[in-house]
Amino acid sequence: MSETEEPLRAELTVEYPFTRTTGDVIGAFMTGLREKRIFGIKRQDGGVLVPPLEYDPVSSEPLTEMLEVSQSGVVDTWTWVDPPRPQSPWNVPHALALIRLDGADTSMLHAVLVDSPSDMSTGMRVTAIWEEERVGHIADLTGFVKEVEESDS
């Protein structure tokens, strides 16, 4: 290679168009998302996993009791995404957060739309917003926004 030449380069893409079967538990979770509902699964000690798992992460017991949880919850921790990624639900900077929904004992990773990082804080309350057209996919849940505080009650 002569030193005056620019190195050759090329943009390459590796892509696999996977379709995976869900099984009963993840299938019910995805079915729920299509119906604008969020389901978790109960552990033997009564704790609720959201998203649901097929087996208890500690005891390895099969889990079977699915139940619906709230569409609002608390931000456990978060990070700021700027610029937005190709798979981001919005074309603007946003947060990615671990969100513990009311009724759940674990937190779920999803996007939160606020104007700036200064609008984000651990412990803030958020609520789900949904896609108009839902197919049974995690992206049916567009993401979360700040929960509107109820007027004095």
């Binding site: 290679m1 030449e5 190195p7 050759l8 380069r9 090329a10 943009e11 390459l12 893409t13 590796v14 892509e15 696999y16 168009p17 996977f18 379709t19 995976r20 079967t21 869900t22 099984g23 009963d24 538990v25 993840i26 299938g27 019910a28 995805m30 079915t31 729920g32 299509r34 119906e35 509902r37 389901f39 097929e54 099969p62 079977t64 009791e65 699915m66 139940l67 619906e68 049974g136 996919h137």
Partner: protein, 190 residues
């Protein structure tokens, strides 16, 4: 249909589907494509190899250990872990070492009619094969040991890419005996 499979009991128990979704069509599969887009910068020997394609030249590397010729040139003999810097120019002729007839289209390659034949092309003077398409004859006629030569793009379309070779066509010369074709030749050398 999950119902048609025997349950792998006792690992699995019947899942209680929540009542609110019992009457709707259940989701049984999801699409989860994986995609990685990356910027590829070839190593210096491969840079030289690719640039030579624009002059319709195919370069290889000769091992200092036993003279084996590798194509594409990678700068090393992977069998011995030694660096190679001896470049050899190879002819655009060789034979089919192995081949495969594929009936499924490649996404994004609308120019490629199915079924097509891909093959390990063993250039005269090279000790390893490299991949190419075989055309210019019926797929049924392709066989191990068949002599082939490169069909290049038009001069004005040549670039720094192995895609300059559109495909490999039969030369009509007598075939290599199958047990001497491809990497089988390695055994004969020893």
């Amino acid at each position: 249909m999950t119902e048609s499979h025997p349950s792998p009991s006792p690992l699995s128990k019947k899942v209680e589907i929540p009542e609110s979704i019992r009457e709707v069509e259940p989701v049984r599969s999801i699409r989860s494509p994986v995609k990685l887009v990356y910027d590829f910068v070839p190593s210096p020997p491969v840079q030289e190899y690719l640039r030579s394609y624009s002059k319709k030249r195919i370069l290889g590397h000769r091992s200092p250990i036993d003279g084996a010729v590798f194509v594409p040139p990678r700068g090393v003999d992977p069998r011995h872990g030694v660096l190679i810097d001896e470049v050899v120019e190879l002819p655009d002729r060789g034979h089919v070492g192995n081949f495969c007839v594929t009936h499924l289209p490649i996404p994004g390659r609308d120019d490629l009619d199915t079924p097509y034949v891909s093959a390990w092309i063993h250039l005269d003077g090279a000790n390893v094969g490299f991949l190419g398409l075989v055309a210019g004859c019926d797929n049924d006629e392709v066989h191990i040991g068949m002599r082939v030569q490169a069909v290049w793009k038009k001069e004005e379309e040549l670039g720094n890419t192995a895609e300059n070779i559109l495909f490999w066509k039969p030369t009509g010369e007598p075939s290599i005996p199958p047990d001497e074709a491809g990497n089988r030749a390695w055994d004969h050398d020893k």
